[in-house]
Amino acid sequence: MNRENPLVLGIESSCDETGIGIVRGTTLLSNTIASSMDEHARYGGVVPEVAARAHLEAMGPSIEAAMTEAGVTFEELDAIAVTSGPGLSGALMVGVGAAKALALSTGKPFYAVNHLVGHVGADILDTRGEPFDYPTIALLVSGGHTSLLLVRDLVGDVELLGETIDDAAGEAFDKVARILGLPYPGGPQIDRAAEGGNPAAIRFPRGLSLPKDMAAHRYDFSFSGLKTAVARWVERAEDAGEEVPIADVAASFREAVVDVLVTKAINACTDLGVPRLLLGGGVVANARLREVAAERAAAAGVALRIPPFSLCTDNGAMIAALAAQLIMAGKEPSSLGVAADSTLPVTEIQVAELTAGS
């Protein structure tokens, strides 16, 4: 296997995006994404079975499209990589099953990697400047995850500082959008509705930010109470026969989410003496999150890094990039007996590396 500048195909199917990425070392050759988002819209959230069925149908055509775009052949590949967790089990299994068979039919080594660490690895493919040094703090925010990581070494040492104890931030956007009568997905809808709204109009709660909560949950998040607070506020206004000021509610809700996300991330940077913050996940599309993160990072002397949006949402390129790093670091392939693990911890960057005697 070429360990200098390996050509890797990465498969991602942990949620509603079938992502196929191809990288050569740290160079992105293709980032093909098929999304089943439209099929979930009328249900107000990702339906796991609908997502899994869509993965099965999108997998082959997506692989074909990525290979064509990258202009490479299966024979030229050095390895096949796949997300084996965390994520939706049924969805993950489609990718893992396909990746194993593809590795076998092409005779290429198989690498099973961690989805969340993949989000951090996406930074490597960002061509605007040099990649981040380590250690770095990473804030990953999507419809399924809200996690704060301390990355000391991308291929060897990732620690979970905190995560949501209930809803993911993206999920909160979807639920509040529904309260306000806006369609799914909620993120862009709330962003649009918040235009011209006053973010200080309503003081919605900042989850797990009181002193008593900060003791046990300094880096954890909670958005369930916030969602309920918004619902109560809207219901009270409706009951009183008042017109709901959607722009103010959306802006104030968004401010509460962004405030708590950025505060805790910057806290981690300051507490741990790590002057670098990387953002990842689909919620990074939120303009207010990027704006507040930039302001507060600058004020705290923290360098902020936000990969291009196509590398922030779920994608196969980040999986290929992480596997390429593992290969370049001398890691052996994963066992073909790897399972899909819906709750794979971030400490498992690569799953089931084959070592002598295993």
């Binding site: 899994a52 099965l56 692989i63 299994m93 076998l104 007996g337």
Partner: protein
């Protein structure tokens, strides 16, 4: 050399040569470990027979019927193997492999096969025999019913004195027979099953109702 993969019940993988001989096969009845074993099984049938991936000429994919989560894994694996090796994937109705095996073992007359669909339901198909190409003739199914409803339908169908079919309530799909079926389908040049997973059930979802109050 045909590689056959089926995860519509447990996991079955087999390698069948061009003469229709089963050269190697692996089976696991466990219905919750498809993704763990499918790769290892493919690797084992290849290595046991000294077969390079390039020597495999087609992949037989059991399209079900089967409960969704497991069923998809074998189909995804079969398609990906075919794609990586640049060889055709032959989609087949999994029950047809059970019928082929039963008739090849001397069974005659009508055959009703069932497999577990979970949720106290059965997947079933009915056959009358093998045709001149050695391919099972499916006259009903694959369908999904509760056991009582299937029995009632059969009783009604047989009310005119028609002889009851032999019934096989199978726990697994013989991947070797699936490979033989693929060989016969390809040799006959006939149209085979549609290239779509036979879930026979819609996803469990309901469109959103009106918003519920929290206060």
């Amino acid at each position: 050399m045909f590689l056959a993969i089926d995860t519509s019940t447990g996991t079955g993988v087999a390698l069948v040569d061009g003469t229709g001989k089963i050269r190697a096969s692996r089976v696991l009845e466990d219905t919750r470990r498809h993704v763990e074993v499918v790769g290892t099984f493919i690797q084992e049938v290849l290595s046991e027979t000294g077969t390079a991936p390039a020597q495999v000429t087609a992949v037989a994919a059991g399209m079900g019927p089967g409960p969704f989560t497991g069923l998809r894994i074998g189909i995804a694996a079969a398609r990906a193997f075919g794609q990586g090796a640049h060889i055709p994937v032959i989609p087949l109705v999994s029950h047809d492999a059970l019928a082929l095996e039963w008739y090849e073992n001397g069974g005659t007359g009508e055959l009703l096969v069932t497999t577990d669909a979970r949720r106290r339901e059965l997947y079933w198909s009915r056959y009358t025999g093998l045709d001149t190409d050695g391919i099972p003739v499916r006259v009903a199914g694959p369908s999904l019913d509760r056991p009582d409803d299937l029995d009632a339908a059969e009783t009604a169908r047989l009310a005119d004195g028609t002889a009851a079919p032999h019934r096989v309530d199978a726990v697994g799909i013989p991947a070797g027979a699936l490979g033989i079926l693929a060989l016969r389908v390809q040799t006959s040049g006939r149209e085979h099953a549609a290239d779509e997973a036979l879930y026979l059930r819609p996803p469990d979802i309901a469109a959103q109702g009106p918003r519920k109050r929290v206060s």
